[in-house]
Symmetry: D3
Subunit: 251 residues, 6 copies
């Protein structure tokens, strides 16, 4: 099985194949991709707007390359709907997948993200995914995306701090990372939260979760509904070089 993880930014090395060692099961090949055109990181709807076209193109290329599923490596799930419309293989968003995993395991969950300005984006996403009643709060470590990895110790400390506040003040029963740049912190965060008196609180690393969901959708022969994500009518799109469509979504 081949799963393509695409990071919708131009920064190289943000996500690497090695990030999925021990995540993907034996026999699953994970390949990664990033953008050629778009923002260096996504921290606003403005940034996201410039990520969409190339992200859709990258998704179409992944299907052409024979990928069995695509994972969107960003908590804004950019181009989730657009990609699902033109791909036949399943497209899994880190945010959508992560929220459903959290909702399955706990009465309520909080998102701990990079910047507090992202609260509306997560609340809209929870609404769109049908999970607004499960979202306790959106909290933030106030570290920009591209600085997350510069001091992992501080990052984990801040994550623990905000997660404990989410539990004690907001009623959260699980924690979902609000940026895919936090990958690798789940074990540390879970341990830190346990040390503060809350053992066995699930911490969801959304990219890992999305890759695993992609694996089982492929196994089950399931993909996005064509009733929700109708194949777009062919038309002229100026200024972009769009690959031919693969599979049944073609015409």
């Amino acid at each position: 099985m081949h799963i393509r993880v695409i990071t919708p930014i131009t920064t190289k090395g943000f996500t690497t194949v090695a990030d999925f060692d021990g995540v993907a099961r034996e026999g699953t090949v994970v390949s990664v991709g990033h953008l050629e055109a778009g923002p260096a990181s996504i921290e606003s709807e403005f940034d996201e707007a410039f990520a969409l076209p190339n992200m859709v193109v990258r998704m179409m290329e992944a299907e052409r390359d024979g990928a069995d599923a695509v994972v969107i490596d960003c908590m804004g799930d950019p181009a989730l709907a657009a990609g699902r419309e033109v791909l036949d293989i399943p497209v899994v968003g880190a945010s959508q997948g992560g929220m459903h995993l959290a909702a399955m395991l706990a009465h309520s969950f909080s998102v701990v993200t990079v910047l507090k300005t992202l609260r509306p984006m997560f609340e809209h996403a929870a609404g769109r995914y049908g999970l607004e009643s499960k979202l306790s709060s959106v909290r933030s470590v106030e570290i920009p995306v591209l600085e997350l990895e510069s001091d992992m110790g501080r990052l984990v400390d801040e994550l623990v701090e905000e997660s404990v506040k989410a539990i004690e003040q907001d009623g959260a029963h699980a924690i979902l990372f609000g940026c895919t740049g936090m990958k690798g912190c789940a074990v540390g965060l879970q341990r830190g939260v346990a040390e503060r008196g809350y053992p066995q609180v699930p911490v969801i690393d959304p990219v890992a979760g999305a890759v695993k969901l992609a694996e089982i959708l492929v196994d089950l022969g399931l993909a996005q509904s064509r009733l929700t994500y109708a194949t777009p009518r062919e038309k002229e799109i100026a200024g972009y070089d769009i690959p031919a469509r693969a599979g049944a979504a073609r015409a």
Copy 2:
């Protein structure tokens, strides 16, 4: 007062200055714009993805040109949030504005749009705008966007047919056009619905409504909240030529 109406497609002449004769009040100058890069029309989330970057750029240019407000001439409200983040002048979406006008005048409203595949998009928008309890249904005339104007008589007939079904079967108390290409049909639709036994049912032409809302926001000195639409951090965006930011949103 200067209001810039931007149509997020590359098709010229879809909306013209003359469309706002008798809509804009005396003293309001309406200018129109369209995209250089993007889709010929928007009928899917795929189409919309390719409209976003140039739409944001066009909005920024409008502010640079001295516009007092920007109106998005499309019922998907593409780039509403992205544009609001980088502009200080008010940005009004046809969909958001139209839904609020409908909700103010009636217990419930239905959207009558071009294609039935757009139902999820409108339901998500209603949720995002906080108005899901007011949306009775999404119905469609099944005419593509760029064919709407080819037979206006048929269009009005279909609009009447679907609007009466919305009233009788879905409980709608007002009708909102689900495509800005339907402008000019409100009077005919209202008359047609009245002839079918339902007088004084508001029919909302969303672009006209959005222009009028823009006028009063400017008069009232109001614009989008910077708490909801935080100014994006400056960063590199590859492949796009983005104008310098105007006004207070400039870093």
Copy 3:
């Protein structure tokens, strides 16, 4: 254009024509009215009950007098539905109009009103207008309606204090005055909130907003839906002197 603003209390001078200088656009005539029978101020549902009959009569007189629209100058929107049933011209409530303007500009808003006992009333109104998910909280300055104007400096200080709490503790992204007696305070409040670290937070003065909404409804030829606000059947009403109905709502 002629807009009649009616204050549903017997206290004279609470609202004057001069309050709309710089609010109504050139060419709009604003006239004001108040009650002959009813409470000196409205601070409870008990007070409001005694305002309703004369308020409906005053609205009917406004239509007879040739007004193009009626604005209800009270945040309880007393007689909004009753008036809409018997009038053909648009009736705009300060509360309904203000809530929709706030919801259009921000992810969430708080109402800052006179007395904390009014929280249920505002929560019910938000529900009725379909906007409960946008209402962050109801806060109060604890100053009775008729004492609001006695110390405007203190009023603005209290408004700033409660608005900052609404932003920091309740997640509000815009502020809506919860009493039309607060008119004239929007600029001061916006400045005060900005000085506390929150620039570009919309402050909605609901009566001003309602007058502007009335202007554009008249321009657009829109009024309340007759499906929501059916014309009442003629019947005997003892103890009240009710004017004959004008326009199409006349049986």
Copy 4:
């Protein structure tokens, strides 16, 4: 125990003491009242507006007269909140009480009322009472209030017809009368619905239900919360002759 049932209309004989034979338990005295000023019947928000002042006065008189509870004999629950603010004895609305009884016994219920134009009123009430998720639909027999009793056979037939539609098309599991003028029809309706294949479907007669709820609130020493229904501040109310307040609600 003394329960005062007040009908908020001026029509005499609409509700009589005899209506509660077999409803009130032994030892409960039911007295009835109606309005001196107000509408002959209530079929719109316009009608209701003119019922409120005298209804509040009548409630205050009931408390002065030593009643232990007041029941509002109308499905619009006119003056429920206003009366609760100034009375210390429990005030029970037919609509609120009836909806809660229906919600306790069934997964969902429909209201069958007099006129279809009342749908918004019932949907607002369900929202205000916290029960919108339990309301399946609002249906109507299209018989005006004051003609209900002129042909009881036809009324029951129409009620059966609409109730069966509510069950089969709307998913209702219980039926609530949408006008207190339907009292006396519960047994016939329940039988009629059973004959159509739906035995043991609860039919709620709301006035009877409200009287019984009043009995147990008095027994339990419970009344409306003063936090929700704060005692109104004393003030001048012109044009109405308002009794002095009784009990603890007196300033």
Copy 5:
């Protein structure tokens, strides 16, 4: 009238007939029952699972014994739906009944229960009963069920403390006991809350409330809807000795 109150635990004396002196009206006989098989107390969904079978059997026996109604004496309402399916007499749950009484009297209510781990259970119940918008919070005294009666003074003090927090921090306007073992504390709690500045705040003792609701359902000839609670098909159930069904629910 004969009402059977069944406590779904094996602990004898938790609830006694004397508890209903002054609650049941003259002429109502209250009998009590408890389990032979099941948990000593219910403080988790695990405990509740083992209470269900014998609870259903006890309910069926009550109907066989000629009871006119059954009351479930536990705030988890164990076997409410199961019992309603096989009984024709009304079954009233303490939790469902108590929540509806609280919702009728106040804009919002909080549950004060034994252990904070029960929050999900109460939030699910409120959702199931259609009352989630009325539930302000779930608070706890952190005293296990079987220790509640060991120090009634401390219990009332803790109830007052949590109730005041519920009012001041969560916006509660009424208090509902979250364990039927708190019976007898309503008067003390209401007084304590009044002394802290909040007079006339309803305190709902749910078992008492459920018994009173049972009385009036019997009077009104009402019971659970057979559309919601369909008679179960007869089938083999191994390991349990199930009485024959009484009444119309039989086959």
Copy 6:
């Protein structure tokens, strides 16, 4: 990896190891279990009540036996919460897992179950799982559980019929089996729906989905939150032979 699938009924052979050939991935051992005490099938809340105790015991035995996860093979998810409280390994319910998978792939889904009387159960479950806004409808084939396999051709035909109605009349974009006895019908149903004009509509077989979800939860080291599912306090439970608790949930 070892996954134990437990069917909460006493009927042998309802689910067999062979049912998971081609579902479980290489390396996953699926074992199955059923009840010794309880109902022959579950078609009501009455039936379910008698399944709970032995189901909890069976789950505890599975953990003792070294299973890595437990799957509940019934769409009522009996003992999901109870089992999660006492087990440390993840417990996955067919209903909860199936609903989340459907919600991830489509804007909306319908459940097609055995009997229409199960609608309240599914609506409550959707609410409890936070997915009520995604559930379009509950439809049924009206075939009892134990007769499902007697005529698979007719079953698939009925499933297609109801699924097409769900799509056309209720707006469903995906179909979830409402009984785990329908396993094996997904391919036929998807083909049948495609032949009726709706290709690429996801059909979710919930037991298969739950097994796959269990696999990835184990891989990810995730299990239910101890904040939602607190370890039950040790206490006497009469009449049941309960195994000692394994793992960390042991007191």
